[in-house]
């Protein structure tokens, strides 16, 4: 009977049933079999109005959509270009940095490819980059910003992981708090860009022999044009780490700032367009929050039924060292990332946390591994999300996108292994900030 229900749910899920329905149904059925009323699932959903951190989600999403609709992408590209234009192959670097910043603010990787792709693709091709290379680069850049603050995926991981780990005793300084995760993501995020830039540099010296001369001359005008957008990252990070703002407040400040700057100062967005943007952004927010709470409702059942412990017992029989555990984790998460988009993938967090703790993996480090994996999973054939978005956006067959993305994918997998097996890269900054000198293993 259980098997039959499970099969029906999986088939429905594969036929594109909203995932929150699948999760809520699974939770309701599971609770019903234990004789618990369906209101148990609702109790979890009512938590939406009890968690301060969740306010950050509508705020950052609204800000992200405002930026996407405004002239920010253009100004961002111009600025980055004038800064690094003197390096051969710099336009590839420009694309990566601009996309990473943009992704961090909008969270959803699809938006980045759509908003930035149309701008960057012709520029790359006209400056001598091969079409196939440019296609791969932009597809890859679409999710490059997950590790940078204030990325929504990091906030969500922190929320889900904290709920999953509540009741467990964590070593001091390893609780998956959002402030820690923001700091932990910085170096690995920069590392990914640097590794990809080396590849871009090689391509660039071949394709684009002359550096962009006008680069530095355009620096001052470019800075002036983006004068209102440049302070924002400093306000957010300075506010959070200077102790002036909580993450939630930083989100509010970002949304108000974006609204004032884009509507009143740059006037890129007219009053009339605001309702449409609000609807777009809040639709995404509704979809994210509902799936999050349905997943947590399902998690309550799993924890009640001690499923994570059963998995742990099973895993313990096969995997004996932390080394092999991390390898298996990476393989699993790559598959997850290639099948789901980032918000649905949060479902697996509660399942892996007890196991990760058993193998002494720091939950902050786990978050960075988790997001890096998803970032790469989006590029993994045959189903990775970015591959399809890119195929639609640039009107190229998806097989061509596969081929063009493959070299980037291989480089990123190597970088992933470095991030996985070198925890200090992720944990050094948070420890430095908190004044803990020793990095625990």
């Amino acid at each position: 009977m259980s098997l039959l229900i499970a099969i029906v749910l999986v088939v429905l899920a594969l036929f594109s049933t909203p995932l929150f329905i699948i999760l809520a149904a699974a939770a309701m059925i599971a609770f019903a079999r234990e004789g618990i009323s369906s209101s148990a699932v609702i109790t979890q959903m009512s938590q939406l109005s009890a968690q301060p951190i969740l306010i950050a989600i509508p705020m950052f999403t609204f800000a992200g959509y405002l930026f996407a609709e405004s002239g920010t992408p253009q100004r961002l590209v111009r600025l980055t270009r004038s800064l690094v234009g003197w390096i051969p192959g710099s336009l590839a670097l420009v694309a990566m940095i601009a996309c990473a910043i943009f992704t961090a603010f909008t969270g959803g990787s699809g938006v980045t490819i759509v908003a930035m792709g149309g701008l960057l693709m012709p520029a790359l091709v006209s400056e001598g980059f091969k079409k196939q290379y440019s296609l791969g680069l932009l597809t890859t850049s679409g999710s490059l910003g997950f590790l940078f603050p204030p990325s929504l995926p990091l906030i969500l991981y922190s929320y889900v992981a904290s709920q999953a780990a509540s009741g467990l005793t964590l070593p001091e300084g390893t609780a998956p708090e959002i402030n820690r995760l923001f700091l932990a993501g910085l170096l690995p995020g920069i590392f990914l860009i640097v590794v990809l830039s080396v590849f871009a540099f090689r391509q660039g010296t071949r394709a684009q022999r002359l550096p962009i001369r006008e680069g530095l001359r355009d620096l001052w005008p470019a800075v002036k044009a983006a004068a209102w957008e440049i302070p924002l990252p400093f306000i957010i990070l300075g506010g959070i780490y200077g102790g002036k703002l909580t993450v939630t407040e930083a989100a509010t400040v970002t949304a108000i700032y974006a609204l004032v700057v884009e509507v009143f100062i740059y006037r890129d967005i007219s009053w009339k367009k605001l309702p449409a943007i609000a609807v777009e952004a809040m639709t995404l927010v509704g979809a994210i929050l509902l799936i999050l709470e349905a997943a947590l409702g399902f998690m309550n059942f799993l924890v009640d039924a001690q499923i994570p412990m059963l998995i742990l017992d099973w895993v313990r029989g096969i995997i004996t060292s932390k080394f092999t555990f991390l390898l298996a984790l990476n393989a699993l998460l790559l598959v997850v990332g290639s099948l789901m988009e980032i918000f649905s993938a949060m479902i697996v967090v509660p399942l892996i946390i007890p196991i990760a703790l058993e193998y002494h993996v720091n939950l902050v480090h786990l978050g960075i591994i988790f997001l890096t994996n998803l970032e790469i999973g989006f590029l993994t054939p045959p189903f990775g999300l970015n591959l399809f978005i890119s195929s639609f956006r640039f009107k190229r067959p998806v097989t061509e996108v596969y081929r063009s993305t493959l070299p980037f994918l291989l480089i990123l997998i190597i970088a992933l292994l470095v991030i996985t097996y070198w925890p200090a890269m992720s944990l050094w900054l948070p420890h430095l900030h908190e004044g803990v000198s020793a990095v625990p293993p």
Partner: protein, 188 residues
């Protein structure tokens, strides 16, 4: 008992929907709903931004704050989540795995969409039932989160939300929208 009442209300809603579709036409009807959605979201967003902004100013510059602002804004998140989910339903924008669906021709795909929407509607009806039980308890034992507004009133969106989602999914099952999710994402 609750499910019977809900079924009756949803059936009435669907009848009204069919009547409106015939009277004003699908296009104008769609324009009205999206205008109402836009206005609602703007009001909610403005309230959230205004109130939390005020709270930040009060906290940082006047070392004080208003007690009821934080719980009110948190409640608004719950309301916005459900309103957003409603819009996501009518535009087929819920997060889903569309690997298999993408491969289907419209002739196979649209009947599949109808079945999926109908199944989702049933699930939402059951969730609304759960919300009803939850709210009944909340009515008896709930503690007001702010300004003596009863907690069941704040949480009642769980009931309205799922009832309306049930209705929206049925609308999708009867009059499937032809918007493919990916093409919508492209327009964003």
């Amino acid at each position: 008992m609750f499910l019977v009442v809900l079924g009756g209300i949803v059936a009435l809603g669907l009848a009204a929907h069919a009547l409106l579709l015939r009277r004003v036409g699908a296009e104008r009807f769609g324009r009205w709903t999206s205008q109402i959605e836009g206005i609602l979201f703007c009001v909610f967003l403005a309230a959230m931004l205004g109130l939390s902004g005020l709270q930040i100013v009060l906290r940082n510059f006047f070392h004080g704050g208003v007690l009821w602002i934080d719980p009110l804004v948190r409640s608004l998140v719950l309301w916005v989540a459900f309103l957003g989910a409603l819009v996501a339903t009518s535009h087929a924008r819920h997060l889903h795995i569309d690997v298999v669906r993408r491969l289907m021709s419209p002739r196979v795909g649209i009947p599949v969409d109808r079945i999926v929407s109908a199944a989702s509607a049933v699930c939402c009806a059951l969730l609304a039932n759960g919300a009803f039980i939850y709210l009944r308890d909340e009515y008896r034992h709930g503690v007001s989160p702010f300004l003596r507004v009863p907690s069941w009133a704040v949480q009642s969106i769980l009931l309205w939300g799922f009832a309306l989602l049930c209705y929206r999914f049925l609308v999708q099952a009867i009059w499937p929208s032809r918007v493919h999710p990916v093409s919508v994402a492209m327009d964003a």
